[in-house]
Symmetry: C2
Subunit: 264 residues, 2 copies
DNA sequence: CAGTGGTCTAGACCACACT
DNA sequence: GTGTGGTCTAGACCACTGC
């Protein structure tokens, strides 16, 4: 039992602190603690997106645990897409850029074939301004009503056909100085631009999907008749630690595309 | 005996047998082979849904590998929801019944709160007949045009409000003798009934989602006005080995519910 | 208590990428 | 060749469940 590398107050810097004085024993396996430590370094930006993290051997030495324990920690991080393993090369901080899977969060695909058959989306930024958060926006982003938020409205077109109309809300603090040029000019996923320009990495997201009718304001922007059924997709995207960092409300035309989901 | 995972009989490191002439080395780790063997037993029905499979030690002895190798194989099966691990008790064949997560494949949730706040769905079977597969249905289910299929049309209501209208198509061969009574009478998920009555276990599914307008035939069944936007959800569900076993076309009302999806 | 899955270790070897 | 992640083993011990 004393063989445990911690149990006293070793390298990992007080990973104990179970405390809480509640009924739950809150046993936490060693590899979970290691995972937490690596996660902390990821958040702190010790290694930037796209860079390699130290090898398993190095991390094992740093934390004074066996390679197998580090491995299990990294396995979980890789399963959560926070990190990417590449045999023979190393383990790399995941990024929305230079990832073979572009647009990881966009589930809209053309009805026929893959997304490769159509060119990249043509972005058209309609608006990019700084506003005060409504009560609803604030609640979603864990802000206070009236706090500054960046708001963007844009359309995405595929092969010239406007297909997505969406509004984005971003916490004003983290996204100071967001410009139309940044939104429109960057080549690649918007989330990759967020990493590069603001150091904000989106890690996971939740979507609520409904069917709605296009209203008179939305219809011309998507070049459909008012009343056309559209997919309403509300997305809340999170960084590390389940901190919400983006609210997005999209309207998708589904006459030539569909939202594809896999159930396991 | 052919039950041995090694073609040469040399337990560790016996991974030889390189084709030397082909492009793909086709190296397959031992735990993957073990996984395949366990999978085969699952398909063959050696252990029924809900039952425990042999302990890791027993399987390790049976396959002449270490417990760790069996563990990794089972880990993957558990990650794919084919099997459920319960510490101190054993590993069990997953089932759509008696699972804490009822309705694993139904992503429609009430706008406010969880699915627990509303009672179970009220099922109403409108039709249950045997028909010949159209070209489209046949293609989806990997059958030939004109093959026998069971077709079911039903509605699901929540708290008295009809919310889902769906058609199901099932291969006639596997679902011989499907009756209205079975579809309506079983308490619990329909997929649990499929396991019990027909020995068919749905393992994963793909959904294609669109926004459509209710037509004159559909509207009254869902008690909405014609033209109301509805979510069209086409689901293809698979058993083991990626064999498609059910095509389902649903229309969801999204005035009090939404389709919830998590992106990782 | 015995039996199960879960954790951790230490060491060996394999497959892969780069140099 | 060197270094990386990936596989496999063997043994020890821990946590949970149920008799």
């Amino acid at each position: 039992m004393a063989t445990s590398p911690f149990s006293a107050g070793d390298p990992p810097g007080g990973a104990s602190a179970e405390g809480a004085a509640l009924g739950t024993p809150a046993f936490s396996p060693l590899y979970q603690q290691i995972k937490g430590l690596i996660l902390h370094s990821l958040q702190a930006g010790e290694w930037k997106p796209g860079e390699a993290i130290p090898s398993e051997m190095e991390l094992a030495a740093r934390f004074r645990v066996s390679q197998g324990t580090v491995r299990k920690a990294i396995d979980e991080l890789a399963a959560e897409n926070l990190v990417v393993r590449r045999q023979g090369k190393g383990t790399f901080v995941a990024t929305h850029a230079e990832q073979q899977v572009q647009y990881r969060f966009l589930k809209l695909v053309p009805d026929s074939g893959d997304r490769d058959t159509e060119g990249p989306a043509q972005r058209h930024v309609l608006e990019c301004k700084r506003v005060r958060a409504s009560a609803e926006i604030a609640r979603s982003l864990a802000l206070r009503t009236g706090d500054a938020v960046a708001q963007v409205r844009r359309t995405l077109a595929f092969d010239g056909v406007p297909t997505i109309l969406e509004d984005l809300w971003l916490p004003g603090n983290a996204f100071k100085g967001l410009t139309v040029e940044q939104m429109a000019g960057y080549h690649g996923p918007t989330y990759a631009m967020f990493e590069l320009e603001f150091g904000v990495r989106m890690v996971r997201a939740e979507e609520k999907i409904r069917a709605v009718a296009a209203d008179d304001a939305q219809a011309p922007l998507l070049q459909v008749a008012p009343g056309t059924p559209l997919l309403s997709v509300e997305r809340l995207a999170y960084t590390y630690n389940d901190v919400p960092m983006e609210l997005r409300r999209g309207l998708y035309r589904t006459d030539a595309h569909h939202y594809r989901n896999e159930l396991n």
